[in-house]
Each structure stands twice: as structure tokens, then as C-alpha cells.
């Protein structure tokens, strides 16, 4: 009797069992929570090291959107003469840039998770998902700073000009919109990073792909300029379309808002994240052999 219980205890006494491939759905979220300190340290590292030994430091976070806005104002607003739905150009472009940049940065940075961390991943174990999660978090800080810039420009237009910009109740959706951008960026990013460990071609494709994607999203133009019904339907398949439009609708009062579109984006994000995490989880266990 004693022997039996002892053996049972022995069997359960193992704190770690390393097996060949685990099942796809076996994601240890508790483990990620246990490594939350690492998560916050990675965020800190990203923020500290990015602008170390630069003169402007974190001000670079502002230079980029300002320059891009000016460029868009000249090229798209001035030369091409694309409508901004009657909004001040600066405000219209800046809002698009802030939101789009957050998404594209999340996607770009997380897509190189495996390849650029191969050195560390090759030596110690920790839940690999911590790395892309911290990338998304540190980009949130960057987004925050850029959003403050947006708010300043925004207040300027409300107080000092008679431009017809007014926030409405839908502006309260902002946190949800940001979370959705993060989720989509993270989902696509980890899916990409899992595939790039084997097929490096994808890395070359991604930059190009993201660039094209921006033009397929209402960033530099409002959705209202698309009058072709078919094209409009195709655009509504882009999960970012409704997020962008909802942001502009809530903050600036123009554009289109639909719960349907937002719901679609949310479901899209959820499915993408689940698939992404599954694939990522599968790859992380053996990617050192293929990277």
C-alpha cells in the first residue's frame, strides 16, 4: 500500500516534463504571467535602448509623425488633392498616421521576434510570447506620446479655429480601438515571425506588403471617397478599415461608423490571435533547429 502511494507521489513530483511536440492548444498563460517581470523589463529595455546616444532622445517619437504629416499634406492634400472630408488636413493625416503607425510598428517589430532573438532563444528557456507582447507594450508608450501630440493639435483646432471638429460619445471607444490595433498587429506579427523561421522570403515581402496595406486602408483618404460599391465591400473586408473610421468618427465627427464593421474586426482579431498563438507556440519549441 505504501509502495503504491509513494510511486504515485513520485509520478506527480516531477515539476517539469519535456516531451516532443505538445498539442497545438497547449498554451501556458499562467507561465507568461509568472514571467511578467521579464515582460516589463523588455519594455524598459526597448524604450531605453532605442534612443540612447541620440541628441533628441524620445523627441524622435514626435519628429516622425510631424514630418510625415507635412509630407502627406503636400503630396496627397496639395498635389493630388484628395479629400479629407472637410477636416483640417493636419488633423486628418495626423490621426491616420498615429493609428496606422501603431499597427504597422507592432506588426513589423513582432514579425522578427524569432530571427532577431535567436541568440537569446538558443540559450535559455522562457515563454517566447513574452517578447512580442512586450514589443506591443513598448510601442504603446510610443503611441501614447504621439497621441498627446494629436490632442495638442486637436485642441488648437477646436479652440483657435472654427473648424467643425467635435468629439462625440464614440470617442470613448478609443481604448478598445487601440487594443484591437495591438491585437491585429500582434496576431499578424507572430504568424509572420513563425513562418519566417523557415522561409526567409517572407521577411522581404513583409515591408512591401505593409506599405501596400496602408493604401488599402482609409489612412490618407476617407472611406467616403470610395463610391464604387464593390470596392467598398472589398475595403470593408480589411479589418483595419472600420477601426480607422471609428476613430475618426468618434474624435473628429466625420466618416462612417458601424457596429457591424467593428464587430467583424473584433472577431477577425480574436480568430487571428488564437491561430497566431497556436502557430507561434508550435514553432517556439523547435525553431532553434530551423532558424
Amino acid at each position: 500500500m505504501e509502495g503504491v502511494t509513494k510511486q504515485k507521489g513520485d509520478e506527480e513530483g516531477w515539476s517539469m516534463v519535456i516531451k516532443p511536440q505538445k498539442s497545438l492548444l497547449d498554451v501556458d498563460l499562467k507561465e507568461i504571467w509568472r514571467y511578467r517581470d521579464l515582460w516589463s523589463l523588455f519594455v524598459k529595455r526597448d524604450l531605453i535602448t532605442q534612443y540612447k546616444q541620440t541628441i533628441l532622445g524620445p523627441l524622435w517619437y514626435l519628429v516622425q509623425p510631424i514630418m510625415t504629416t507635412i509630407m502627406y499634406m503636400v503630396v496627397f492634400g496639395g498635389i493630388a488633392g484628395i479629400s479629407t472630408d472637410g477636416l483640417p488636413q493636419a488633423l486628418f493625416y495626423l490621426s491616420g498616421i498615429c493609428m496606422w503607425q501603431y499597427f504597422s510598428e507592432c506588426l513589423n517589430k513582432t514579425s522578427s521576434t524569432f530571427v532577431s532573438n535567436a541568440g537569446v532563444f538558443g540559450k535559455v528557456y522562457f515563454p517566447r510570447l513574452v517578447v512580442p507582447l512586450s514589443t506591443v507594450t513598448s510601442n504603446l508608450v510610443r503611441f501614447g506620446i504621439q497621441f498627446v501630440l494629436f490632442v495638442i493639435v486637436y485642441l488648437y483646432y477646436i479652440i483657435f479655429t472654427d473648424a467643425s471638429v467635435m468629439p462625440n460619445i464614440y470617442a470613448l471607444l478609443l481604448p478598445l480601438l487601440v487594443v484591437m490595433l495591438a491585437g491585429l498587429g500582434l496576431g499578424f506579427g507572430i504568424l509572420f515571425s513563425s513562418m519566417t523561421t523557415k522561409y526567409r522570403d517572407l521577411t522581404l515581402l513583409l515591408g512591401f506588403f505593409v506599405h501596400l496595406w496602408m493604401y488599402a486602408t482609409p489612412v490618407i483618404y476617407p472611406l467616403s471617397v470610395i463610391t464604387n460599391e464593390k470596392l467598398r465591400f472589398v475595403m470593408s473586408l480589411n479589418p483595419l478599415t472600420s477601426i480607422m473610421e471609428a476613430f475618426k468618427y468618434g474624435m473628429l465627427g466625420t466618416g462612417s461608423f458601424s457596429w457591424m464593421g467593428l464587430g467583424y474586426s473584433f472577431v477577425f482579431m480574436t480568430v487571428l490571435l488564437i491561430v497566431g498563438i497556436m502557430v507561434f507556440n508550435r514553432v517556439q519549441r523547435s525553431f532553434m533547429d530551423t532558424v
Binding site: K19, P20, Y35, L41, R45, T49, K123, V124
Partner: protein, 426 residues
Amino acid sequence: MSTAIEFNHISKQYRLGFVSAKTLSSDLNRWWQMNVLRKEDPYLKVGETNDRTKKALSDFVWALRDVDFKVEQGDVVGIIGKNGAGKSTLLKLLSRVTTPTTGTIRAKGRIASLLEVGTGFHSELTGRENIYMNGAILGMSKQEINRKLDEIVDFSGCERYIDTPVKRYSSGMMVRLGFAVAAHLDPEILVVDEVLAVGDAEFQKKAIGKMQDVSKGEGRTVLFVSHNMASVKALCSRGVLLENGSVKYMGGIKETVDYYIGEGGSSENQYFEDLSKAPGNDVIRIKSFEILPGKSQANIDIESGIKFRLKFMCYKADAMLDVNMHVKTVDDISVFKMSRMFGEVGKKDSKVGLYTMDFELKPYTINAGKYKAEFVFGENQRYVVYSGFEQYFEVENTQTDMGFNQGVVPGMLRFNNNDVVIQYEG
């Protein structure tokens, strides 16, 4: 005593060669063969052992093959074997960097691996920031590091530079800091791979001391991989000898090391009739290596002198190639190293064909004992074109210059006692 780690029929398969270039096509091919034609995996040739020196028959190789052993709690196990025997793969599996192809590993308690210390150090961050970073990567919480920070800084001996970015550190300081963090992790199982190769003597002593504390005082389990037989013997209580991915011998550390040395040490001269199976690669292939006594006598001893004769094929023309023979003791302490260009010094004039290298050690040079000769072939005095060929040999003791019976005198070198001039001055 209970089992701390259990390796249960572990195998690990790797793909040889250039992985990324061919994967998409070979993946498609495999999918086609397996799922459509219902054949076996065309890339999986089971049963081929991993012998580095032999040409592979398939693109896949078993880095570990059915490794099965247990480690008791509190044991300090030395894992030894030649390059490519599977030592590091075993530790990689244990530290969960990669997964086994088949089999399971079970372990009790936290595992800390020092596969390479200073993992995750970011050169722009200060020493202090990197302690937190590295500690967190190894699985420590913030409070845990806070609690041990002073101890870690003290152990590393880098207090003065703790707020300096580590890019200004010397490599030795990096290792100290990295080891200091890892040593304070308080793991139940510690995995160490050749870390002691770096750092100065004082720090090595400290590190070895810490490892001994961990294993003896605190009853923790340590797995130690090293080529340095002296430190393996000093630190470990048990040994596992790996060869071509399988466990060749297991037992007390002394027996294991003796088995390993004895096995390689059978100083039979090596001849390779079949060049395709000879050690080497596309540039160099070893044909034969002989170690013979200099005088016409049966044994190599202190006063026989030693003749080394290496015959090898060279397949690269018009290159500046050189051959290096490095003689070491079995404890990996360097005795001497010889280098020679294939042709004239500084000229790219190597020829395709057979070369013979001869070198003779005069009588009364190295002391009695076991040695190994390692060969490295280089190009332009910078690049290694081939390395990995080695041969153990033994020099026997003689006492003719002593006049009476005596054991081996201390020292790595051995001169003729008759060369000591002694005169009676009255």
C-alpha cells in the same frame, strides 16, 4: 536519495547542411511522398549514427540516439565526450531550448542553465540593469533580484562599473557578471557548459567554489559539460561518457574519465585505406597518422624521442594552407604547438595530392605521461579549413639517467639528468 532528472529514451534528430535554401521544396516533396503517395518520410533514414568524421548517407542525423539515464539528487555529473558526441544537444534539451524528437525528460525543481553566461545582456544597458534583465530571463522575479543584488554585485567583483553600460566591459567582466547572476539563481538543478574557459584564475577558483557549494553544501544537482578532464575530475562525482550520440559509459567520474582516455589512448596508429571514410572534408583528408619512437625500439619513452608522421590528401590548389599540431596533456593543458605552411612561407602554392608531415621530438623533451596530438588545418593563417583529428599517445618512463629506480619525476618537461654538471671543488 531520489531521482532529480530522468532521461527517458531521448533521441534528437537534426538536418545536415544548409537548411533554409531547400526547405520549401523538400517540405513539398515530403508532403507529396507521405500524404499522396503514402510512402515513408524520404528524409528519415533511421539508424545512422552521428560520426562527425564520416560522410553522411542522408541529410539527417541523430545527434542523440536513445539516451537513457537517471541523475540522483545532489549528484554532480560530468558529461564528457569528443566534439559532436551530443553533449551540448543534451543540455539544450534539458534547458528547453529545443525539443527531443522522441522520448521524454522529467526533472524536479528549477533548472538553470549556464549554456553561455550573460545571455540577454544588452550592450547599451548598465551592469545593474543587465543583472535585472539577465535574472528575469533566467526566471527570477524582481523581488528576488532586489534581495540578492548586493550579493551578486559583490560576487562579480564589478562594483565600480555597475552603472556603466556593459559595452564598456571587458569580456572577462561580462562573464563574471553573467556567472554571478546565474550562480545566485538558487536552482535545484544547475546545468553548466564550459563556462570556466573564460575569466581569470581568481574568478575560476571562485566559480568552481560556488559550484562545489551548490552541489555539496546545498545538495543540489549539477550537470557539467567540459573538455577539461582536470576540472571534471575535481568537481564531479559521477560521469557520463557520450559517443556519437549514445551513452558509452556511465559510472564514477574517475572510471569514466579513465575509460574515455584509455579508449582514445590506445596509441594505435591510424590508417585510413578508404579515403571516403577517412576524417576530413573537401579540402583535407587524413590518410594516416603514426607516432613512433625515434630510435629503433619498441616503445615510446623519455629517451627514445618521438616521431610524428601525418599523411594527408589536399584537394585545394594554389592556396596558402598550413598544418598545426597541438600537443596537450589529457587534462587539456597545452604542451606545445607546431605550425608549418604546406609550401613556401607566405605563398599560395598548395598542390592537389598527397602530403607527408614529419616532425621529430628529440630524446629528453616531454615527461612521461599521456598526451594527445590535435590537428588543425588553416588557410591564410586565419581560417580553419579542417580540425577535429586527434590521437592520444603515451610516453613511458625510464630511469637510465637516474641510476636507481624511481617513479615519474614531476613536471611536463623532462631533461637528461646527466646534463646537470656537478664538480667537486675541493
